[in-house]
């Protein structure tokens, strides 16, 4: 055990030294802000689950059935998330960490190294799932007025639940590592991991869990009951956790501890098995990942990239950076999962609009359609902000150690930033227009709303991208192993705040005039002169704001980059 703790010590010491050095003040401040946002989200989740469970509790006959169905579904979702997170963390900890050559050169038995990494993987992959599952469990505790037995059971079950999921993930990674092509492990595993997650996410959404609160959607009451009472698989860790919680809520002590004991005994056996198989498997897989092979670009479509032909007409330096950025992005397989994730979220986004039960709402359909369309402009702009935060904000940081090439290139800071802007603006603008048009088509909005939405996105997009580029230039991190993570820095936080403020201001400037135009249309009257002046003034202010949100950040970014080129 002493060896395991010694192996973990550098992590704690590094954390302690980071905090003591004070160099991370910016990062700490950002973490504090993100912590606050996280807490607000956490509290919101609790409030949501509390309301839902309270509502279920008041539904006669079905109430408890609904509440326990929700719990069973949530546990499966948590387990899937833990597995997904475990696969990615295990890959990084066991096969890709920079300190592996050092650790494996130490006179420590390999099972001790395995156990130290297993512990790290378990903690790193589970803490967030635990943190965000607590609002649900606490809501059950409060609504069902649970006592000490429930909270003790929760504590005793959540630990083996997380450890089982992580150990399963580690076993999967251990089993696949020796057969994956050398040097391709990171990319293939990331892609597979995210594909599994997406499959789960999409299947869960397409199951339409909301139908369980609407018995009318089932053919007969019998079918509904059957669906609700479907027995959980007795050999699944989710079932043991579920049965323990259910028993604890009903005060059945014996049953509670029986199912808890099942979890712990299986958890212990699994860890023993994992430690045992790690002997022959771990080093074999690790040796493969350390092999360097001559690597050619992955797929022929990426190797030739014939669709980049039109870029050949661009001026030399523009073409150089455009091609470099596009090729680097497409060949970095660690980026692909995020593209898949983005695609899946867009599918779900559009799907949610397609199943909106507008016809059941008490308000007029045409009013709701246009209200949703208006709100959707803000939503689409926030999606664009999130995507920009992920892809545009790190655009300067991704140059990394190779930033010397930019500095020594015969290219001004202004030209370089304008190139970067257009590389990212074009696809993101197209994405935002696609989103807004598709959702408006699904909502069957009026031509006025369609024109307004498309025009608003046209004016918002340059500002959103320019702000991301500006803050990314002001807060670059060239030493980061994963530049995508720079968005969690203070700069990323400022960007999200500023951009949200910008979008909210534009939407607010448009809200009043749009409502007036809409109501005037509904009543069949015409606009007064005062209303016309207000309309023109408000829309002009929105346009000026959009122009400023583009021009000012670009100017600041150029000045900042000029200074950075000055070292």
């Amino acid at each position: 055990m002493r060896d395991v703790l010694t192996l973990l010590r550098p992590r704690f010491l590094a954390m302690k030294n980071r905090m003591a050095s004070g160099q991370q003040r910016d990062r700490m401040l950002a973490r504090l802000c993100y912590g606050l946002v996280g807490f607000v989200f956490w509290a919101g989740l609790f409030a949501l689950f509390y309301r839902v469970l309270k509502y279920f509790k008041n539904v006669e006959v079905f109430g408890d059935l609904l509440a326990f169905k929700l719990l069973a579904m949530a546990l499966i979702a948590f387990f899937s998330l833990l597995m997904f997170s475990g696969i990615l963390t295990a890959l990084s900890k066991f096969y890709l960490s920079r300190d592996l050559p050092l650790v494996h050169s130490l006179p420590v038995p390999s099972e001790k190294i395995f156990l130290a990494r297993w512990l790290e993987t378990s903690v790193d992959s589970s803490w967030m799932v635990i943190a965000y599952s607590l609002p649900l469990f606490l809501a059950y505790g409060v609504v069902y007025k649970a006592g000490v037995l429930f909270y003790t059971t929760l504590f005793l079950n959540i630990l083996p639940f997380c450890l089982i999921a992580t150990t399963f993930s580690i076993l999967l990674v251990l089993a696949f590592a020796p057969i994956l092509p050398a040097g391709r492990m990171r990319s293939l595993s990331f892609v597979l991991g995210v594909l599994i997650f997406l499959l789960l996410l999409i299947s869960f959404r397409l199951m339409r869990p909301e139908k369980f609160v609407n018995p009318e959607s089932f053919a007969t009451l019998l079918v509904y009951f059957k669906d609700m009472e479907m027995a959980n698989e007795p050999c699944l860790p989710t079932t043991w956790f579920f049965d323990s919680i259910r028993a604890a809520l009903s005060g059945a002590v014996g049953k509670t501890f029986f199912h808890t004991a099942l979890s712990w005994s299986f958890c212990g056996s699994l860890i023993y098995l994992a430690t045992w198989v790690s002997g022959p498997l771990y080093l074999k897989g690790l040796s493969r990942t350390q092999m360097v092979q001559g690597k050619r670009p992955g797929f022929s479509v990426l190797r030739r990239l014939p669709w980049l032909g039109p870029l050949q007409w661009l001026p030399g330096p523009v073409r150089a950076f455009a091609l470099k950025d596009i090729k680097t992005f497409l060949r970095d397989q660690t980026q692909w999962p995020q593209i898949f994730l983005l695609a899946a979220l867009i599918v779900l986004y559009l799907y949610n609009f397609s199943v909106l039960p507008l016809e059941k709402a008490p308000a007029q359909i045409v009013y709701l359609q246009n209200l949703f369309s208006f709100l959707n402009m803000g939503l689409a702009a926030f999606v664009l902000t999130a995507v920009s935060a992920r892809f545009v904000f790190p655009a300067i940081s991704i140059e990394g150690g190779a930033f010397w090439i930019v500095k020594s290139a015969p290219l001004s800071a202004g030209s370089y930033l304008r190139i970067k802007f257009f590389i990212y603006f074009v696809p993101l603008f197209l994405l935002s227009e696609l989103l807004i048009t598709a959702t408006n088509v699904l909502l069957r909005v009026t031509p006025f709303m369609m024109t307004l939405s498309v025009t608003t996105m046209l004016f918002l997009s340059p500002g959103v991208v320019a702000l991301a580029l500006c803050l990314g230039t002001l807060y670059p991190d060239f030493s980061s192993e994963n530049p995508a993570q720079t968005v969690t820095s203070l700069g990323g936080l400022i960007y999200m705040t500023l951009c949200s403020g910008f979008i909210a201001s534009v939407i607010a400037l448009e809200a009043g005039p749009v409502y007036t135009i809409f109501m005037v249309g509904l009543r069949g009257v015409s606009l007064s002169m005062a209303q016309w002046i207000w309309l023109v003034g408000s829309f002009s202010a929105a346009v000026i704001l959009c122009v400023m949100a583009f021009a000012i950040p670009m100017r600041i970014a150029i000045r900042s980059l000029d200074e950075k080129l000055g070292g």
Partner: protein, 247 residues
């Protein structure tokens, strides 16, 4: 001999630390100038200022008569810059990196096709040209950077530690290349820890210590300055830097 590199009162401060102080230097056309000095003497800072990678706190850099401060793009067009650490775009292939450099320096397509193959062959990288740079060894990356730096036929080549990471064959190759380029009129400014490289390759040597240039000249001129006979560069270097410390 025309002066291709001119450094006038070049100074760089990092806060209160004086990395380079009042450096005055000229290097002529076709000359190989070696810049040597102990660790932390200011070699890399000077090289980076000359390459336009960092700005000086004070002073002026002229490359082929063009001011780096006033017309950085024009000045950089005349430079081939080779840093000490070969950080590159790992997801590009060797050939794509050369094309990237060619585009930046406006090298025409026909000329690029001819020169890129020649360079890749010269540096024994032709077989690996279509492989991602991330699979290259340190030495291969260094050779690729040197190849990219000479692609646009620069008037000046600025090199920081040119031989780091190269095997003996690579070192000989680079030495021969530098001599050949100098023979054709290219000016080379290189910093090195290897006194053997400086002695073997450079027409003139400058010794920098604590940010100041303490001696310049050919080996013979430096011997006279240090008042030693038949001494090698290592002994000269140690004597001159020790004298500077004691004074």
């Amino acid at each position: 001999m025309t002066n291709v590199i001119e450094l006038k009162n070049l100074t760089k401060l990092y806060g209160s630390l004086r990395a380079v102080h009042q450096l005055n230097l000229t290097v002529g056309e076709g000359e190989i100038f070696g810049f040597i000095g102990p660790n932390g003497a200011g070699k890399t800072t000077t090289i980076r200022m000359m390459g336009g990678v960092i700005l000086p706190t004070q002073g002026e850099i002229l490359i082929d008569g063009i001011s780096m401060a006033a017309e950085p793009v024009e000045a950089k067009m005349r430079i081939g810059f080779i840093p000490d650490r070969p950080f590159l775009y790992e997801k590009l292939t060797g050939m794509e990196f050369l094309k990237f450099t060619a585009d930046l320096f406006h090298v025409e397509k026909g000329l690029f096709e001819e020169k890129s193959e020649e360079i890749l062959k010269l540096f024994s990288l032709l077989d690996r040209a279509d492989e991602l740079i991330e699979s290259y060894s340190h030495g291969m990356k260094q050779r690729l950077i040197i190849g990219a730096a000479i692609l646009h036929d620069p008037r000046v080549i600025i090199v920081d530690e040119p031989m780091v990471g190269l095997d003996p064959a690579g070192i000989r190759l680079v030495k021969d290349l530098f001599r050949r380029l100098a023979g054709k009129g290219t000016t080379l400014f290189l910093s090195t820890h290897s006194l053997e490289v400086a002695e073997d390759l450079c027409h003139r040597i400058g010794i920098i210590h604590r940010g100041s240039l303490i001696a310049t000249g050919s080996i013979d001129e430096l011997r006279q300055l240090a008042r030693v006979q038949e001494s090698d560069l290592e002994a000269l270097f140690l004597k001159l830097t020790e004298e500077e410390v004691s004074s």
